[in-house]
């Protein structure tokens, strides 16, 4: 029988009254999965509202919609659109063809793209055009922009050797590893900095706790072997 490991202070997050985020425009990449808010005091203005009811995957006939609208001749485009719609619907909790803008990053990335944060901002700007940002993105606007992204093959995956070069560029002493401090410094202070959660996760996967280093070659190999369940194509 498992021993009940009650970490001191309890589980990951002790739920306390969730503070609505201050009114700045949030980053489009929802890297951290968000939990639902805690208390919703009556009359309190909650910025985004409680996380909406997460239903299991529901295809609300949006794929069927694409079927009708999609170009009969260009089956490839129709296919791409359906794929985008499917990914969109994961995050469409209210099944009303909108998603929280913070989830756009996850959607784009789940479709196999590797954009930077800056590129996501650009994409979002195209989606929203001149409209006031409402915090929600509608499928109608998202679909054409994303379809073009996939057709143009923008934000391509990063080849293994390019990734390796990147790590090597950070490895000043060329010793084949980065110390925890080095990695944390680069990742949280430079480029498009990581959040604490992102940093913690990367370390949990890559850090050798005994030496406090990340041997990046091994790390890359481990991460690149992404989907062992995939059938050989």
């Amino acid at each position: 029988m498992k021993a009940a490991t009650a970490r001191q202070g309890g589980g990951r997050r002790d739920g306390c009254a969730w503070q609505p985020r201050p009114g700045r425009r949030p980053r489009p990449s929802a890297a951290a999965p968000r939990g639902p808010p805690g208390t919703v005091p009556p009359g309190a203005a909650v910025e985004r509202g409680p996380l909406r009811h997460g239903s299991p995957w529901r295809r609300r006939g949006a794929a069927a919609m694409a079927e009708q609208e999609g170009n009969g001749e260009d089956g490839a485009v129709a296919e791409i659109e359906k794929k985008i719609i499917e990914a969109f619907e994961v995050f469409d909790h209210e099944c009303n063809k909108t998603v929280d803008v913070r989830e756009i990053g996850s959607i784009v990335r789940s479709l196999g793209c590797f954009p930077t944060e800056a590129e996501l901002h650009e994409l979002l700007a195209k989606v929203e055009e001149e409209e006031e940002p409402t915090g929600y993105v509608h499928l109608e606007k998202f679909l054409p922009v994303m379809t073009k992204v996939l057709l143009d093959r923008s934000y391509r995956p990063i080849p293994e050797d390019v990734l390796l070069h990147a790590f090597e560029a950070l490895d000043e002493n060329k010793c084949g590893y980065l110390t925890k401090d080095e990695l944390v410094k680069h990742m949280t202070e430079e480029g498009e900095p990581f959040t604490e959660e992102e940093m913690e996760e990367m370390l949990s996967n890559g850090l050798d706790p005994e030496t406090n280093t990340v041997h990046y070659r091994d790390y890359i190999s481990m991460m690149i072997v992404e989907e062992p369940e995939d059938l050989p194509q």
């Binding site: 021993a3 639902p36 009811h53 490839a76 995956p157 790590f167 059938l231």
Partner: protein
């Protein structure tokens, strides 16, 4: 946000090198960050669809149980009633039968060698602590005490109304827990974080204490013990799993049989009655309604308050409408129809057939529940909220409704309520708010589907009725898996059960694929493939996203549909046996387990060949499928390793476990 430093123009050479070195570092950082974020997002998606898979299949399964309920009950009463004699039908809802078993514990002696807790009634906190301590050490409570406990619990529960009306005064908070599903570690964790139940620390446990986890019995014992010690401060609501028919399939009955062997039957029999005495709901300060499932647009709290709840032993047996011919199974109109595709499964229409066995003498319509009573209780134990307005039959579950925010609003207005707290649905964070914060789902079984799948949570409600959520997650002490590995485990698990489903529907799927493949090329478009999968399996899953895990595509992007089945086979190679039979056995593996357990009177793990054949015939006629007599014989023979005309059914069932070819162990 950082902008990448671009070309800065010319400077002294040393500066050049330094700048370009830091410029390089920044570029490298951006690259690594964008790579990592994409990886992470895709892990997140994989986690989401894995949980979707688990949940869809679970609900589809639950639907099936409703269909098979009458068959299982028949089996139970024929084989597993404490004084079952074949061909006698005993209705468990006749109360005098139960009374005669209430004092059964007196006949059971506790041997001196027993070193578990010895309870003394009336129970005190010392007894509760003894139980907690014993269960932490993996001990069992002796059947004598279990039965005595059940007897006392029944007595206390009988005194309670259908709806507990609770007042929380200014000095107290009340704690509300959701589904526990046999996860004892979660209960221990809750008690550790929040304290034990007492007059100062009232609790509400909102149903689904049993099934699926390994320690359903221990959870019940603990909850019942605290109920007896603090009857005014511990409130138990019935869940849809407090139902003996559901327990057959989802593990609780098996757990009791395994742990208590010869005494299991009496225990299970008494539990049927005890479950039916569990109250249906709790209301706090007349403002907060707590019940297991949800509500419907016809939910009538006054009606619910007044009905005789103990008449509803199992919700899986709807009462027959009044005017009914004998021998015909009337499907009550209240039950929603299952997915249309299921009905069209070639040659395998699911119809409840009464051929092959005598229908139970139905409970006297005077003493049995009415259809209205049944539906009202069904609704509150099985319904789920959804975002859209309206109230529809819950076709995912096969019972209860989907209720919208308008339904909630109307109920609140009618009864002057402020909050609805329910459970019944898995939530990754352990809780979720919906309907503008008016409806809370609280789910207390962490790691429900798989290690790392979700957190559990409980609510502390203060006298102002503001909910405060506390989350937790049980972790193995020796857990060395990092996030990535845990996500992979979850994904692998989910894909495994999905593949089993696919394999079990092989013939129907092949038919559906072939319809799209007019030219017999063996390839169809992704759209067609996804449509076929959904039409047969009805799981509402993101098929395009899952495609790469399930089938091969050719360079044109078309799907080689038979490749779905290539990498799967059953654990035991059975080349000579009809593929259709193998498929059927895979599909009903879990159901067969239930049947075997019922039939295995002496808990030997063996049943006779004859019995098996007879049962299979009844079962298949009930399902309306061919019995494959000769094939069954051949198959059973090939698995009868000892050649003694007895089948070791766990070996038999293991043989029909679908495995990935790569995972298959050499025989």
């Amino acid at each position: 946000m950082e902008h990448i430093v671009t070309d800065m123009g010319c400077n002294a050479s040393i500066d050049d090198r330094e700048e370009s070195k830091s410029e390089k570092a920044i570029k490298a950082a951006v690259l690594i960050q964008k790579w990592y974020r994409s990886r992470r997002a895709r892990l997140e998606i994989s986690r989401r669809y894995s949980l979707s898979i688990f949940q869809s299949i679970e609900y589809a399964d639950e639907q099936d149980q409703a269909q098979l309920a009458s068959f299982f009950t028949f089996m139970l009463e024929r084989y597993a009633s404490p004084d079952a004699v074949a061909d006698t039908s005993i209705s468990p809802s006749v109360s005098h039968e139960v009374d005669s078993y209430l004092t059964e514990y007196e006949n059971i002696e506790v041997p001196d060698s027993y070193c578990g807790p010895r309870l003394s009634f009336p129970l005190t906190l010392a007894d509760a602590n003894a139980l907690l301590h014993a269960f932490k050490n993996g001990q069992l409570l002796h059947a004598h005490y279990v039965l005595k406990l059940l007897c006392e619990t029944r007595r206390v529960l009988k005194e309670k109304p259908n709806i507990n009306l609770v007042s929380v005064s200014y000095s107290k908070e009340i704690t509300i827990c959701g589904d526990l599903h046999g996860n004892l570690d979660d209960l221990f964790l809750i008690f550790y974080k929040n304290g034990l139940p007492s007059e100062k620390k009232p609790y509400v446990f909102n149903g689904d204490f049993v099934d699926r986890g390994q320690n359903s019995m221990e959870i019940l014992i603990i909850l019942f013990a605290f109920l007896l010690i603090y009857p005014n401060d511990v409130h138990l609501n019935r869940g849809n799993h407090e139902d003996y028919v559901i327990n057959l399939r989802y593990g609780f009955s098996n757990e009791v049989l395994r742990k208590y062997k010869v005494h299991a039957k009496v225990i299970l029999y008494l539990l049927q009655d005890v479950f039916s005495w569990l109250p249906l709901a709790t209301i706090i300060n007349k403002k907060v309604l707590i019940l297991h499932g949800g509500i419907s647009d016809t939910t009538d709290l006054n009606f619910l308050y007044l009905l005789e709840r103990n008449k509803l032993k199992s919700l899986m047996r709807p009462p027959k409408p009044e005017r009914e011919e004998q021998g015909k199974e009337g499907a009550p109109t209240a039950r929603p129809s299952t997915c249309a595709a299921n009905e069209h499964v070639a040659g395998k229409t699911r119809r409840l057939s009464s051929s092959g066995f005598t229908e139970l003498s139905c409970p006297n319509s005077q003493s049995g529940p009415t259809l209205k009573e049944w539906k009202q209780v069904m609704d509150i134990l099985w319904s789920d909220p959804r975002m859209q307005n309206g109230c529809l039959p819950n076709k995912r579950r096969g019972g209860g409704c989907y209720f919208g925010p308008d339904t909630t609003a109307r109920l609140f207005e009618r009864y002057n309520l402020k909050l609805l707290i329910r459970s019944h649905e898995f939530k990754r964070e352990g809780y979720e708010l919906t309907h503008g914060g008016k409806v809370i789902t609280i789910f207390s079984a962490s790691n429900y589907y798989e290690e790392g799948s979700n957190k559990g949570a409980y609510i502390r409600l203060n006298p102002d009725l503001i909910p405060h959520f506390v989350q937790y997650q049980v972790r193995e002490c020796t857990d060395k898996q990092n996030y990535l590995e845990r996500m992979k485990t979850i994904e692998r698990s989910a894909l495994q059960i999905l593949r089993e489903k696919i394999f079990a529907h092989r013939s129907t799927l092949t038919e559906a694929f072939e319809k799209y493949d007019c030219d017999n090329t063996g390839n169809i478009s992704v759209s067609d493939w996804a449509a076929a999968m959904e039409s047969v399996l009805c799981l509402e899953l993101p098929w395009r996203t899952l495609l790469s895990h399930l089938a091969k595509t050719d360079p044109d992007g078309k799907v080689d549909y038979m490749s779905c089945f290539h990498n799967m086979e059953i654990a035991q190679s059975t080349e000579e046996v009809q593929p259709a039979l193998v498929e059927t056995l895979c599909k009903y593996r879990k159901e067969l387990e239930v049947i075997f357990n019922i039939m295995d009177e002496d808990h030997s793990g063996l049943i006779s060949f004859d019995e098996f054949r007879k049962t299979w015939r009844i079962f298949s006629s009930h399902l309306g499928i061919d019995a494959y007599d000769a094939s069954i014989d051949k198959l059973a023979q090939s698995i009868d390793y000892n050649k003694d005309d007895y089948i070791d059914f766990s070996e038999f069932l293991e043989a029909f476990h679908v495995v990935h070819k790569r995972d298959k162990k050499p025989t």
